[in-house]
Symmetry: D2
Subunit: 507 residues, 4 copies
């Protein structure tokens, strides 16, 4: 593929050019003066270690993209990332990493390590796909498997880029003999369920000094921002089955309970503050219409800017559920599957990440990419919104974003730095079939950008222990005195599915 | 009005003709052999006393119709029949009745008496109109007062015909010197509220031997039938007011509670037995939309064939109300305004009534009446359904009807006989504007029919003490061992309105 | 199993005893005077042919029960009766039947024939189980597979008994050399989908003279009765997916459309006539709560005593669906999967069936069965309702029942006779887990009863051509002039599933 | 009342003190350099004219408060401010104003003028109260008239203070002989209906140069801010009445339509942007439950930051209404009663107002007021939120507030300046019974503050024609090119009520 090759060469060229300028700059001092970088999007100077990592990434870009395309082709739902995790584990092991599989009791969780001793810099990956998002890589809605899952949140890009970054960093550690460990945490069920918390509860992050990761988004930026807090839960209603025509009066409809609960929540929306989001689906709508449904279930996600507020709304919703059960003479059971505070931004890590993200730059899309994206977005009823071709400037104050992630609890425990890379020349909404198309086409261009940024940042941190200390101090200062009570039941276990079997978890 | 005059004469003629045949028949024995009359609609023989009463009714028919037209023109809501009750009281007093007004603490209730001693034969009247049914006597929807009340249940026909019958019977008692008392109970709020029960609780029916009455319906028949049991109640929800735009999160919406309760009840319909009926209106929908409503109220009627079943449904609905309050963090208060078991049919009284109803015959409508009724019913999307021109045969077993009345409790206490007269040549549904038109036009023809039937039946009962005994024995036998617990609060008081003032009761 | 053996012997004894009495009675004449049998439950006399069939059934009773237990253990959903149909086909083929598989384009439909020429007497079987009804044969709710299907409508009893009857009749035809064909129609998807109609449309019933079948029910009776008419349909709503927190305003919720449609239907219940039944489940409740659902689906069954009325209600519900789509800016597509008029009772066939059912008698349950049934029904909050130990008398007029079946269209085309056998000493509601337990325990006792009744009736019909003519004339007379327009799309195809694959049909 | 007297004296003292400092400052220039005042809350210098006005206000403070107390005692609903407007008209006429009553076809609208020629400075008043807010001036919920209206939005304070300011300004014009006209616009129905627009449409604001007014709020500030745009509308559903038990299937429920529409809107909330507000009440919930309601009505207010967005939401809601009508086979009619864009802030006027508001200062509450306010707010479940004792600084950019007013259209036509005065030492939410209490107690203290600020601002504008020009230029610049299409029907007429009659407007 000559076009792609040409690009890689161009990038190497830029990398080397910049490298020559940056030799000899006092990186350590810079990291300790994080405020220097605020506001002006000045790129970090490049040193030989970063340059070597960039070179490695560029040489392996096609491999990474092939890996991402492979993952894209076998989308797997949350907690069921069997094949995807094996693919990444194989890649990491073949590149010298030691891998613990089945971490924290989850068959698809893993921890891969290289190097040794302190500090421990960790990267995370996510591999799960979204239900109902199966889609051919074509600019029209065409599922590959009707109703099947699809990579509409770009997680297929995350694993390969992160694994590649980890390998490049491992090479740096090995080459330089620098002390320190580079890890990759393969975290299941980012979309629903939240695998990271089971790893956190199992103590797997205990010795991690800083955690780094990325996600495709609407632009290329350091995510110095709050996500929303969120809680995810199931409401199971239990009624009495009865023949729907012969004896409907003998039945107690669990489905009516679910619908009345939803009606109650829709009315509640009037009383919610602007930043609150509540969404639900009906995960069990009741068997066959011949029988008054004895079992029905809904699945909720509640979000708010702050965890306390989300918890208050969950409390009210649980009262609505009880009211619906009372109305229908059924029983209800609420199970909180995931409870995440807002992700905590870490300014020192944001400054280092931002420096390196500017060094790498945003993806440069081709005219063909632009044309394809416009076709892809046709029929959405809105003009395509172009993405900035530059890395967005680091904000003075943390922004407040509307998404939420399962990184919330981790970010209150480990100093966490995050960034985003735009996978498209025009904004593509996550969780749409267009995102699934993009994840197999132009979105692949985000992979080397992310890999280089992760690698350069990790290398800089290994070379600048003070920056790690600053990040940890910032976390300590910001989280000091904050307590929040999780809604998830203590001692809960992750769901375990059997590979190949479909619907129900074994546990 | 020559046409009407001709009719009266024709009726007198028939009356006299039949009378001549009936002289000397042993009526007492007949009443004691009620089963003899079953199935074959044989008219009772007419005697001189009945003939005299018929004659009086025919001579006063225009007066009664004028009275009915007057009542029609000033429709008054339940418990607010101020002018209507005064009109009837004046008529009865001017015809020699002694009247107790303000009976049982209700300004519009009265008991009028003539004659003396036992037995006591009582007739009842109803005078209240229906909200929103104001209508000109024209074959198209034209309210006289937009949103105003109207006589869409024909109660304007009941008072005049019943009062006239009572006067005719009083004349019989006076003329013959027979022992016995004829009474008229002016009962408020038949439509909603149920004034009869307050009179019952006050002991006003204690010495009544039999109770007789009538209502317009889809045909002319003795109502040897069960009505549905019914309970009527208000649910008042109390929330917290708040500015609907500035601070909706501080409000608690009583209106949402009402709507969620209704949604719960609509879902419940799936679990209701076929004979159950539940209907509601929203009697307070919440002020102005600038404010989250702190107050809202719904008004329910629950009906079922049997009282126990209605009570079960009320129980479930009260749980739905509590569920709705829980959902919305509001409070709810349920107040049962009226609770009536199914009306108990009384076979001996039905037999006597049926005999006399056949003697009188169903109304004979004119071609003009038929043409007008067809115009009136045009646009209903259904072909007009012609009414039988004959009195319908007495059924072998009591029928089960869908309506309910506030006669339920009374009928379990006093032996009660009822019949219906068709007010129209084609079926007109009650509680429609067409009924309000009919009540001022052809419906007036039902008045002399009803008056004669009531008078003849009462006269026959006064002359046949054994028939009264049989009726009382039937009640004792049928109601023996049945107990039912009323949902109305013990010791409750009727609402009292001030004449002229509009909305709220004083108490 | 000595107990069972003792029973079989007892039954044979009875059969023989009765047989000796019945020899020589003029069966033909009796069948032509069907009214003779009304009201008094006189058993038919038994002849040698019936006695032989009974003997065969008794000798094979254990085999049939084993077959039923086998089917019970592998419950399969509608249109997916792969294993069950194969089991029956194998049994019939091994007993000399010629079997056409994959009938009418349905992998699980079959037609098995023995004998030759006219008349053609056909029996039908049903094999599908119900979703969510998986249950151990124990007196407490214990699914074998959580959420899995189960035989809660006793279809596991139908196939073995019907196949056995067919074999017994085939032996009669072979032995006597009588002209005529005995057939078994293996009809898929009785519970939902209605496989019989695809076979009807394919002309597979064209040469059938009479059709006979049975079903477990609340007592043992000839089903001289109307079922309800019914229509079954799916509503698929199509919206726009969007991230539920980042851009909910960009989404269009198909799930809200489903819920609002259901709310509209629940409100509609107030306007439905008493005999109408409407039930729904939500067959697609919308993916994951991270995404505003672009796809959601509900599944409805509408029933009414008459087909026209059901069709009217379907029309209104389709308007509600459109209203819900309008409310949510989504699109909706209605697909009618099954449309059945009320099953037409056939008096001549009912008379013959009734005679033979009385000859066979209702199942005689043991004390252990009664004790177990009482335990099974404990906790239902109702006293167990004992089942008549006698065959219920044939009613004078056809009864009206609340169930519906996919026999509706067939019964308007082929003269159809049906009967019920009580599978339990106490009434067990169909479509409950208790029914699933019963279908593997005492319910097995219904099998020989049903097999004998089917066999005796078919034999009597083969020997009495006039009875067949009477049945056909009755159908012609009753259905004359009646037309009904089916709501199912013309030329529709049955859904086809792949064995082993789970959720979605291939077509 | 010595306490109050002491206060007035104290205020006069402050006024004079400040006056002595300010003599001789070049006010004109200042007004032309509006930006000078931004950010620092510097008070305007006081001149002799303002001082004279302040003196007059202080001397008449008790009269104004008595007037406000009088209005408070006779609360009148929108378009029915009969007595209230007469009270203000009488006051203005007795102080030399010429008054046009019945302005723009509204019995309760008036325009009062004094002075002559240009420029024309206009003030507006509002007099309507809120339904259901009747309340004694006591710290517990005690309606004076159950369900009656009450001054829970402080409009009783607006008329007296504004009229007093106008009189003070008229005296200035008369005394100085300065050219110019001071006007008071008595505008009906601010709460619902929007009387200002009818006056605008009638051309009554055509020659107005600037418009000034005030409203109590959560603090004392110049309202340099956007309100929300809003549209207010009624949805009338028309069904078919029928007896609710005898023939519910013949009815078409307009009430169900209203409830389903509301359910649709509650679901829609999920798709609304954060700034949108939708609220409704049910203004006709359907007569009596004996009848399927043929008529029902809901009353909606839609708000959004921008008018276009509000109009989009109204469009969607109108589709929901149509969907609800389709669901219930009823008809619906939407009538927009009021449509207001967001109020346009005017920077030059804000600067002048702010200068004078600082000159006057925020109300100084007493310890008793504070103690009473705390008692008043007890039981609200929230700690009382203290109000700033200073005038809040003018913001750099216009703020965005959540309320809306009927000033929207006027503010896009006439340069409009507005300010708020805190009526309480602790924040009291508008449209609560606590606000009604405050409006009769401590809230009266806001009157002289508002009167002085209005008078001083008007005087300064009369003396500084350039400031008026600047205000008009700012309006022209900001509104240039903006067009918005009103949803109200062209040529609509205001509703007209008859004084004393209650519910329905004559037109």
């Amino acid at each position: 593929m000559p076009t792609v090759l040409a690009r890689s060469i161009r990038r190497i060229g830029i990398g080397l050019a910049v490298m020559s300028i940056s030799v000899g700059l006092p990186l350590v001092a810079d990291a300790l003066r994080p405020e220097a970088a605020i506001g002006n999007a000045s790129a970090a100077p490049i040193d030989a270690d970063k340059a070597a990592a960039f070179d490695w990434v560029d040489r392996n870009a096609e491999t990474m993209k092939a890996l991402a395309t492979d993952l894209w082709g076998t989308p797997e739902l949350s907690f069921r990332e069997f094949r995807s995790s094996r693919t990444l584990i194989r890649y990491l092991e073949s590149n010298g990493f030691t891998v613990t599989t089945g971490a924290a009791g989850m068959p698809t969780a893993f921890v891969a390590s290289a190097g040794s001793g302190k500090p421990v810099v960790a990267l995370w990956t996510e591999e799960d796909a979204l239900a109902g998002m199966s889609q051919r890589p074509a600019p029209a809605r065409e599922p590959i498997v009707a109703g099947g899952p699809g990579h509409a949140c770009w997680h297929n890009l995350i694993g390969p880029s992160t694994a590649a970054a980890a390998v490049a960093v491992a090479q740096f550690l090995k080459r330089t003999g620098a002390p320190g460990t580079i890890r990759v945490y393969g975290t299941p069920a980012e979309e629903t369920g939240g695998g990271k918390d089971f790893m956190l509860d199992a103590g797997l992050f205990r010795d991690v000094d800083v955690l780094l990761g990325w996600h495709p988004s609407t632009n290329t930026r350091t995510e110095f921002e709050y996500s929303k807090a969120m809680a995810e839960m199931h409401f199971r209603f239990k009624g009495v089955a009865s023949h729907a025509s012969v004896a409907p009066d003998k039945g107690r409809s669990a489905l009516h309970a679910v619908e009345l609960m939803d009606a109650g929540v829709n009315a509640l929306r009037e009383q919610l503050k602007e930043d609150v989001r509540v969404q639900y689906v009906i995960s069990n709508g009741g068997g066959e219409p011949n029988v008054i449904p004895a079992d029905a279930e809904s699945w909720y996600i509640v979000r708010a800017n702050k965890h306390d507020e989300a918890a208050d709304v969950v409390q009210w919703i649980s009262e609505i559920a009880k009211g619906a059960a009372m109305m229908t003479r059924t029983q209800v059971d609420m199970r909180v599957d995931n409870d995440q505070p807002e992700v905590l931004p870490n300014r020192p890590l944001a400054v280092v990440l931002d420096r390196n993200l500017h060094l790498v730059g945003a993806p440069a899309f081709r005219d063909e990419d632009r044309a394809f994206a416009r076709r892809l977005l046709e029929g959405s009823g809105r003009d395509p919104q172009p993405v900035s071709t530059d890395v967005v400037a680091l904000p003075r104050e943390p922004a407040q974003e509307a998404y939420s992630t399962d990184l919330g609890n981790v970010s209150w425990t480990v100093a966490t730095g995050r960034f985003a890379v735009a996978p498209s020349p025009y904004v593509i909404a996550p969780h749409t079939w267009q995102a699934a198309v993009n994840a197999a086409t132009a979105g692949l261009e985000a992979i080397p950008i992310a890999a280089k940024t992760l690698a350069a940042t990790a290398i800089e941190l290994f070379k600048t222990p003070g920056a790690i200390d600053a990040a940890k101090e910032d976390l300590a200062a910001v989280s000091h005195g904050h307590t929040y009570k999780l809604l998830t039941p203590p001692g809960r276990k992750p769901p375990v599915y059997r590979e190949g079997a479909s619907a129900q978890p074994l546990r």
